[in-house]
Symmetry: C2
Subunit: 382 residues, 2 copies
């Protein structure tokens, strides 16, 4: 006989925010909306299209909010990741990545019957695989040639390789050359504003020379897409990008928060992990219930957030699988450690892989739970 | 109109293992079974009970296999984590952790109507909360006093605090003092075998003095539970533990693999991430499709596994959100980089948070997919 026993929800609309079960992922809806508006306004001022990246949140409700404000569509990083967004009604998705193997090409070609899709290539074999899959599916696909503008990850470095890809794409009627993808992940977290500005300028220069080679060859290039939350204020004015694809700006994790922002474009920390103190036995520290399974620590440990800023008294100093260790910043603060059962809010170090740990985002406004959004693409990494 | 479009499964029983879609979590069932048998045999030889930890895998099929071989039950680390195991028929579960807040105490008390459950305490307030919740639910709960044997995380350090907890437990008819939990996570990954032996001996000494204080006070202590995959070979012969609770030994991640094993008890790497080369454009490296969303890197990057050992030619050198960077160990091996679309197997750095990223474990035997097991407790961190 099956056991009828369900886990109660962590939060229900209408309940006080300080009663959400922990650990939970919590979004301040006012700060989130301000971030969405600010990026859209910055793109609109420059006449650049905004195609926000969904890999940061994996949540269709967030993409729909961005599109309602003016985004032209979204980016996904994996083919499987795009499925819940198509299901939710997003009809223009760029897979900002290369795709390996016939299974993924077939999936992409099938999905392209339901929405306008594009994908990146940096190898002739990928073009041929996409052509075969779209021919079999009877669908059409936009293709971007990814160019290496300094990161040295994916993308061709030699303009001749770019032109060979363009030529091959043109040989396949199901495929349309949409333009270039020029993204430099390595500059997004350079801490200094000047460093990021110079890095973005260098990436834009490299992008510009690829565009010049396309123009010289008489190849039409409607779209140049790229940029992330750390470089976008420079990318917008670079003169080379027609479209930007930032993702993390809606949340601003601690790693982005550690960047220096000297310019006009800033975003708020809107995403938090609600956690509870579960042990005070050690005396000189407390243990909270959010550890490695509740946050990604690849880009650093979370910040403890109190009264709209980093805590002046407490640090989250170590993450175990299910435990977080919180210590006072100075020994003379040991007497002021939080009590057993008390709660705190953490700003995660890196939002993208943290979102990938949760099934739900609990939206709060003015201290009350307003929404519970499914993270529908959580775990979809194929 | 809802879109009818489902992601095809990554693997189906009967298909060749080298056609599993990537990235996927893959378990070598022969090596897994050998690990399960070896730990059970080691415990049986000493007459010590084995209560394997389910936090390492979150997969009921694995717990049921362990119980079928002789395990007395399982450990879980969170109350919510226990639910799918109860549903799958596991009837004896120890929550090897403290529980914060009335919601979790209520959940635990409700679940205790369906299975034999126990939990840890290190504070009088926790005892009272458990008593109130079990009284409300009409259920009974076993309670372990957690003692600090060196880790300095949870658990009381002062024997007087232990005795006060024992006394308080005895005041509540719904609660039964089951024994002590004495776990030292900090020694599990000491690299040297001698270091781990000495660390385990010290923890056992501390455990022994807590037991002596209980005996002196005339308190019955049936169970002393603790030990992890790195210390268990010493814990088994320590004379203080009646029960061990290792988890990772079924998989042996790279972090445990980096330990030095001079003793008789060794385990095999049975868990892998299947990944594909998705870009070779950079020339001096290749990019694979498994990054931070496909593995935890808190305890180090994955090993590339080839022919039953670490690759002699390739290293996984960096993990981005959806990309892994693989470089040759020496420059003169650049010409031998794997081709676009080729596959490799990775041994993850840390199994517990890696399992928490996947919905399924694909079991293979002799090169063929045999089973697809749900990771039913994935994401259950409350």
């Amino acid at each position: 006989m099956p056991i009828a026993f369900d886990l109660p929800p962590a939060a229900r609309p209408g309940q006080p925010a300080d009663t959400i079960d922990t650990p939970s992922l919590v979004l301040d809806l006012d700060l989130f909306a301000a971030n969405v508006d600010r990026m859209q306004a910055a793109a609109d001022r420059r006449g650049i299209k905004l195609r926000p990246h969904a890999k940061a949140h994996k949540c269709p409700d967030i993409s729909l909010a961005q599109i309602a404000r003016g985004a032209v569509g979204i980016c996904c990083q994996k083919v499987s990741e795009a499925i819940p967004f198509v299901r939710a009604g997003v009809r223009d998705i760029h897979i900002s990545n290369e795709v390996a193997g016939p299974a993924k090409a077939a999936l992409l070609a099938d999905l392209a019957r339901l929405a306008t899709l594009s994908v990146c290539v940096d190898d002739i074999a990928q073009v041929d695989a996409l052509a075969a899959a779209t021919a079999a599916a009877g669908s059409k696909l936009g293709v971007f040639v990814e160019v290496n503008v300094g990161q040295g990850r994916c993308g061709v470095t030699d303009p001749a390789a770019m032109l060979a890809l363009v030529e091959r794409i043109a040989q396949h009627g199901q495929l349309t050359m949409r333009g270039l993808q020029a993204y430099h992940g390595g500059i997004q977290h350079l801490r200094g504003w000047n460093e990021r500005r110079d890095g973005a300028a260098q990436a834009a220069d490299r992008t510009g020379s690829f565009i010049a080679r396309l123009n010289a060859a008489g190849v039409r290039c409607d779209v140049v897409t790229g940029g992330g939350s750390g470089s976008v204020e420079f990318d917008l004015g670079s003169g080379v990008y027609t479209e930007i694809q930032p993702g993390s700006y809606v949340f601003m994790d601690a790693d982005y928060g550690a960047n220096d922002y000297a310019g006009a474009l800033r975003f708020e920390h809107s995403l938090f992990i609600a956690t509870s103190v579960m042990s005070v036995a050690a005396g000189d520290r407390v243990v909270v219930d959010a550890g490695l399974k509740s946050m990604a620590v690849d880009s650093g440990l979370p910040w403890i957030w109190a009264d709209g800023k980093q805590s002046a008294t407490l640090d989250y100093v170590a993450a175990n699988d299910e435990h977080g260790i919180v210590k006072p910043k100075h020994e003379d603060l040991v007497g002021k450690l939080p009590a057993l059962g008390s709660r705190m809010m953490l700003v995660p170090g890196h939002c993208d892989p943290t979102l990938n740990l949760y099934d739900e985002i609990v939206g709060i406004r003015a201290g009350v739970v307003e929404s519970v959004w499914p993270v529908s693409a959580r775990g979809l990494s194929r």
